[in-house]
Amino acid sequence: MVSTPVDVTKVDAILDEYRRDPLMLVQILRRVQAEYGCVPPAVRMHISRALNLPPAQVHGVVEFYHFMSSAPQGAYRIRLSDNITDRMLGNEAIMDRLCEKLGVKRGETRADGRVSVDYTSCTGMCDQGPAALANGLAVTRLTVTRVDEMARLIEMSAPLTTWPHDWFHVEDNIRRRHLTLNTEIEPGAAIRAVIKRGADAILREVQLSGLRGRGGAGYGTALKWKVCREAPWTPRYVTCNADEGEPGTFKDRVLLTGFADVMIEGMTVCAMIIGAEKGFIYLRGEYEYLHHHLLEVLWRRRAEHLLGADILGSGKKFDVDIHLGAGAYICGEENALIESLEGKRGIPRVRPPFLATHGYLQHPTANNNVETFVQAAQIAVEGGQWFSAAGTEKSKGTKLLSVSGDVERPGIYEIPWGATVAHVCEEARALGEILAVQVGGPSGAMISAAELERRVAYEDLPTGGSFMVFNTSRDIVLIAQNFARFFARESCGFCTPCRVGTQVLRRTIDKVVAGHGSEIELGEIEEIGRIVKGMSHCGLGQTAANPILDSLKRFRDRYESRLATREFVPDFDLDSAVAESRRLTGRDDSLAHLAR
């Protein structure tokens, strides 16, 4: 293949903007993708030479992220969010309508290069779906009417800036406030507390608060920071995981919108405690619309000396950069996130060692969730006891839940840990009779209506914040299928059990849904589910089988009612296998068909 000459002036400008730093590879490629609609092979080579990276590494990164491609995509790229909640709100009809109006097939680019349409994983708008991304920007509350208008604007080549503003309007939908959402701290208050009382005292407050990581894993925040600060080498780093990709989660989006100052303050407090001078916010690509807002907050804080070379006259130095993701659920896994920050494919590292000692560039790194940093800043001001007064013995304080699905009032509910599932459902006004609740997203747990008295807490049902309610009008098998497809699409492909196992689970449930399943498939789901769970490399694989195993355990009858027979039925259909021959020979008579 001979490279077609490409004008690289724009690429050079982008490279210069990122100081030709190979660690910025993902950021550079994102910009190139936006500029050219793809990363053409010639541009890829140019970048690899400019950054002194092997072309295979650049190529590998382009192929890894959903929002990058080597082949040209449409000038308009519409991606419909495909979380189960979007599906319940009718995203399939939206997809059909959009494809029909634009004359394009899902997953393809129209021949004239005008538009491409596809599904994407949950975009974090479950309380205001069906949602989409239009050239990377979040669109909410899609309707058939809006889609018709969108198609018309696309045919007119109308720039996105001229599209109706309210399509891009994102609601906070804060429904219930508790400690965190009720507390406003003045910018700089937490930093002043560290300066006044000293890093040790504030670390003790965080310890006393009992704060645990809010991303879902629940590791003790003070302990993580302590390990990090005691690691005997520098520089150390603070990273904020703003890559909330768990389907059904959107509470970080709301915090990033209204509590960005407090979050950055929390990062600064952490930096002062562990002795870091550099921090990163890893913002999921789906939240690109928040990028500018966050940059503004950073600029203001620099102007107010809350960031920069001498923070509030303390002599301490700290600043924060924002890195954008490019469509990869796996990058919410902290090890994959750090790899992506370093400009690589988001493949989870082998542990040990852990990030607290060997994180960004193999240096000590405190990586925490958005909510964790917000609460840490508040604890620095209000004290550990203020926080630990709420919650349970092992789950101190409060938790933000993102509630969606069959409820009248979807949105953000801040609850003290230990609240029952029934209580949350009641507050959100569950619609109809509850069938099941998915606590913690597909990687969490699915519980049935008989278990609503269970508690949202590390002791019982831990969660990163996703809370999806399903009523009896829903089909549990289709819900599990949606989640199985999600994991199969998002597996990074590193390890065998997850790479292949998630595909096997998806294929098996597809077979059951198609009516070709038997008891044998149900047994296979259980066996393979156990293997994927037990043998996978990281949290993605270790939890990927949860929804299918949980639903099978609780709603086996729903699966059984879909079985064709209790005996084995091959998923290979002889008659459809010769369809191509029929088409080629132009025959469709009875002899050209094989009886089933």
């Binding site: 072309p55 590998g60 590193f494 059990p497 096997v504 996978s536």
Partner: protein, 239 residues
């Protein structure tokens, strides 16, 4: 006092810093593996070396040995799950053992025999993967690639060339070649390179030497992989 772990009831000594895999190998205990090669930093991706360690599954090529660890390696439960993993590797690619040049010297095939794999169990995925026969001396057949990363490491660390990299993701993870055309002929790989010989399967093979040893007389035709490990037979590169 020396440090020990037990593997299937046998006491195995280890030095601090050794992995379970290293300690086992030194004591002559075979733990199945494909992406692990003692000359390189462990990758930990194939998961065939998974053992039950103190009752929980762990990847032994990356797990540091610790005093008193109780490891189950050859128990039926562990072997049965490894059998499924091996079957997964077979169905996700296109493996044609009966007419593959590597047959008999292939570690994937040998591990399959070792874990008692009789069939593929899962439906085959039949992926479409690109073959690269552009290079005069070396063939890259992605159908047989298991994404172990060994050629990537060998080329980078031993040959100093970085000819390969892993690209794609999920089921579309694939070996990418370091040239604008994406073809091997436009790289500086040579048949003497370590990268040309390290593949545990038949994804990267040197051309024209495949049948020097007849099928039936090859390494794993004669002995189980647990007896001979992953020693590759030396090929005569010059004819």
């Amino acid at each position: 006092m020396s440090l020990t772990i037990t593997i299937d009831g046998q006491e195995i000594p280890f030095e601090p810093g050794q992995t379970v895999m290293q300690a086992a190998a030194e004591a002559g205990v075979y733990i199945p593996h494909l992406c692990y090669n003692p000359d390189f930093k462990p990758h930990g991706s194939c998961k065939l070396c998974t053992c039950k360690v103190n009752g929980r599954y762990a990847t032994t090529c990356t797990l540091p040995a610790a005093e008193g660890m109780v490891v189950e390696n050859k128990t039926e439960g562990v072997q049965a799950d490894r059998r499924r993993l091996t079957q997964m590797l077979f169905v996700e690619g296109n493996h044609y053992c009966p007419f593959c040049e590597k047959s008999g010297n292939c570690q994937l095939q040998a591990v399959a025999y070792h874990v008692g794999m009789q069939d593929s169990f899962f439906g085959h995925f039949y992926p479409r993967r690109e073959m690269d026969a552009s290079h005069p001396d070396i063939l890259l057949d992605r159908d047989r690639c298991i994404q172990c990363d060994l050629c990537v490491k060998a080329s980078r660390e031993v040959d100093g060339k970085s000819v390969f990299g892993l690209g794609g993701r999920g089921m579309r993870t694939r070996l990418v070649v370091n040239s604008e055309s994406g073809l091997l002929k436009d790289t500086d790989i040579a048949k003497e390179d370590r990268a040309a010989h390290i593949c545990p399967t038949g994804a990267i093979i040197v051309k024209r030497v495949g049948y020097q040893i007849p099928i039936g007389e090859r390494l794993y035709d004669r002995q189980d992989i647990s007896q001979v490990g992953n020693r590759q037979p030396a090929l005569r590169l010059e004819e």
